[in-house]
């Protein structure tokens, strides 16, 4: 009888979530998603099922607020709401609230997350207002190898104490198949500090699509990320996480799905893109997606069969709309190189149709210390020029010689690295850092 009672007690303990405070381990995250000036989604994974609670506040010793999601599980998704724009919040994730400030200093609640680590994030500033903004851009990072680590480490050194406001993943985030295990190694174990402090905004690549389906919005990519489908972070509702947009300060970011969504000129993604471009009042428009419009790296945008025509579609169908909508920067990956154009417009054919006199809006290197930064009119003007950047080498460069001879590009490099965007009011500065920490390219665009 006594044995039966003990077994029953043990069973009850095991089945009662939250009653074993130190039994669970956070195996993923926390990571930040769908940031807006007044809200943030915090996600994490535990090895055992438990409740989801985020305790947060304006100081590390004043976690005065708690947010929860319903139910218990191992995948935790909690939305913090009614936050102040441009404000730093400290937070702890766990299965129960941390003690309120009135309790004994430093003590955890009896059932609280005693060993949970403190993290912090800063909410985006009010939409529209200019604020110095740093964006880290990683194309095709997910190799899990030393190159990926080196690219990460040189950026960390480069940015130093300057916080990263947001970071973009341009697809092929986790090789080879975008499985949950691939993501665990390639993203969650590679970038834990960035993930807990800065919201990440991904695009779908062909390798991610091995384990995901855009029509049913199912699979690993869609399970892992929480992305705005109703325009809640700015922009027009897309109804899908496959493509979406968001605002940060005076910039509007547009993510397209070049892999798995309908790319027809009258398809839902195109209709959404047109509406989204027409709706934005931000100073800067930055578009990003996986398949490059131009490349002569590990892929060739002149070859129709390469990537099943996706590069052709993005160049011939989507780029004209982006340029007509006033896009300033087009960021892509897929080709494991770095390629950067002049300030260009109107080149929608194969490379042999490129005509510098017709398609280059401004020649030169785009550098203040060189032959001049790129200048665009402040007035939103269609076809005023954009810079196309293929930055698909955050995990590896090509091990084979590649042509790197597309005429649209000012500079082409077969080097691993990542890119950094700094927006300060009406100036945008772009930098490419290779895996050795060398600043291998840079340019600026000024609106006046």
């Amino acid at each position: 009888m006594k044995l039966r009672f003990n077994l029953l007690s043990l069973l009850l303990l095991l089945l009662a979530p939250g009653l074993l405070p130190a039994a669970t381990t956070i195996v993923r995250g926390p990571y930040l998603q769908s940031a807006t000036p007044t809200s943030m989604v915090v996600r994490w994974r535990t090895d055992l099922s438990e409740r989801s609670v985020v305790s947060y506040g304006l100081a590390a010793d004043k976690l005065t607020e708690n947010a929860r999601s319903a139910g218990v599980g191992t995948e935790h998704v909690v939305q913090l709401e009614n936050l102040q724009p441009g404000t730093r919040y400290f937070y702890v994730v766990g299965n129960a609230p941390v003690p309120p400030p009135s309790t004994k200093a430093g003590a955890a609640a009896e059932d609280g997350p005693a060993s949970a680590a403190m993290s912090s994030f800063t909410t985006p500033p009010p939409v529209g207002a200019a604020k110095p903004t740093r964006v880290w851009v990683l194309g095709d990072p997910g190799t899990k190898n030393d190159t990926q680590r080196a690219v990460r480490d040189v950026y960390q050194k480069f940015t130093g104490d300057r916080p990263t406001d947001l970071w973009l993943l341009l697809g092929d985030n986790a090789y080879p198949d975008g499985t949950d295990a691939d993501y665990q190694k390639a993203i969650f174990e590679l970038y834990p500090d960035f993930l807990r402090t800065s919201p990440v905004w991904p695009a779908l690549g062909n390798h991610d699509a091995q384990s995901a389906n855009s029509i049913t919005q199912s699979g690993v990519y869609y399970d892992i990320f929480t992305l705005p489908t109703r325009g809640q972070a700015g922009g027009v509702p897309s109804g899908t996480e496959a493509y979406y947009s968001f605002d940060y300060a005076n910039a509007h970011f547009i993510c397209l799905d070049s892999q798995d969504s309908d790319r027809n000129p009258n398809g839902p993604m195109m209709q959404w893109l047109k509406a989204d471009l027409a709706a934005t009042s931000r100073d800067w428009i930055i578009a990003y997606f996986h398949h490059p419009t131009y490349t002569k790296g590990t892929h060739d945008s002149d070859r129709d069969a390469d990537s099943a025509g996706r590069m052709n579609d993005m160049r011939a169908i989507f780029l004209p709309v982006l340029e007509a909508g006033g896009v300033d920067l087009v960021l892509t990956g897929h080709s494991h190189v770095y390629e950067r154009s002049w300030l260009i417009d109107g080149h929608y054919g194969k490379s042999n149709t490129f005509n510098a006199s017709a398609h280059v809006r401004q020649t030169g290197d785009g550098r203040a210390g060189g032959n001049g930064v790129y200048r665009k009119p402040r007035i939103r003007t269609e076809h005023a020029g954009e810079v196309s950047v293929v930055t698909g080498s955050a995990g590896h460069a090509s091990t084979q010689p590649v042509p790197l001879n597309h005429p649209v590009f000012f500079l082409s490099l077969n080097e691993a690295g990542s890119s950094v965007i700094d927006i300060n009011g009406l100036q945008l500065d772009f930098t490419f850092l290779n895996e050795k920490g060398e600043k291998r390219d840079w340019f600026s665009v000024i609106k006046e």
Partner: protein, 270 residues
């Protein structure tokens, strides 16, 4: 290992596709796994799906056939073969295969959507609609395309609009759904419905000027010029509220000219 069909021979020229970096890499990986486990039906299915994705239908079929010979009950196999059949514009074959897949797993939403599309390709709109409805009930976050396809199978415009509205209720004011609903409402003479829809859009967008212009155009076409004029004037007022750098943009300037053309009482300057 003995194969009962000639399909094995189709598996030999597996690297004969044109050079394609990802495809080659994927094939190298799967070929190595097949070599290590030649009896594993799932690997042939996976390899067939790679070829199917690359548009090599013949080699895809051969791989599926080997997979079927090794394990006729292999999950996903019928769905893969149905996708192949639909790619070959053989919807009746696809439906037959998908019935098997759905018998085994009624919650297979990909199979359900594929069967709906096959039904639609066969001209069976009502059956297609049932499958889309079942898929939509199962999916947590369906893509807008599915609502568009579901609406396309509707027996009449009213039902199509109802289905599109159901999509908007679940997904938000998605442009593709709104545009289709507006077009259907206008063609069905449901002008007040269309105006109400536009009013809801106008109330929540940051830049309503082009929607107000569309509202005016709709009312003008419906023979309601006074209300149209009010919409055009509201559009002109909305433009006046934009920051200078947007008011003077070429796109806004074009819109101003269009408004003045539609309502000559309006002026180009504020």
């Amino acid at each position: 290992m003995r194969f009962r069909s000639a399909s094995f021979f189709f598996l030999l020229p597996v690297l004969a596709l044109p050079a394609h970096p990802e495809l080659d890499a994927a094939l190298q990986r799967i070929n190595a796994r097949v070599a290590a486990s030649p009896q594993a039906a799932a690997l042939y299915l996976e390899r067939g799906e790679i070829y199917l994705g690359a548009g090599d239908l013949l080699t895809a079929e051969a791989n599926f056939q080997v997979a079927a010979e090794l394990d006729p009950q292999l999950p996903r196999l019928d769905r893969a073969r149905a996708t192949l059949a639909l790619s070959r514009r053989q919807p009746a074959d696809a439906i037959r295969l998908l019935e098997g897949a759905l018998r085994r797993n009624p919650a297979d939403t990909e199979a359900r959507i594929l069967r709906a599309r096959s039904q639609l390709a066969s001209g069976h709109s009502a059956a297609a609609g049932e499958d889309f409805a079942a898929a939509l009930a199962l999916l947590e976050q369906p893509a807008p395309e599915i609502f568009l396809e579901y609406a396309a199978c509707a027996a009449n415009p009213i039902e199509a609009i109802r289905r599109l509205d159901a999509g908007c209720a679940r997904l938000g004011a998605v442009p593709a759904l709104l545009e289709r609903a507006l077009a259907l409402e206008e063609s069905a003479g449901l002008i007040d419905h269309a105006v109400s829809r536009l009013d809801r859009i106008i109330a929540r967008v940051e830049r309503p000027e082009s929607w107000l212009k569309r509202r005016g155009d709709l009312l003008q076409r419906a023979g309601r010029p006074a209300e149209a004029g009010a919409s055009y004037a509201a559009a002109r007022t909305a433009i006046g509220r934009l920051p200078d750098w947007l008011q003077e943009s070429p796109a806004t300037t074009r819109l101003k000219h269009e408004l003045v053309d539609s309502a000559p009482s309006l002026s180009l300057s504020p």
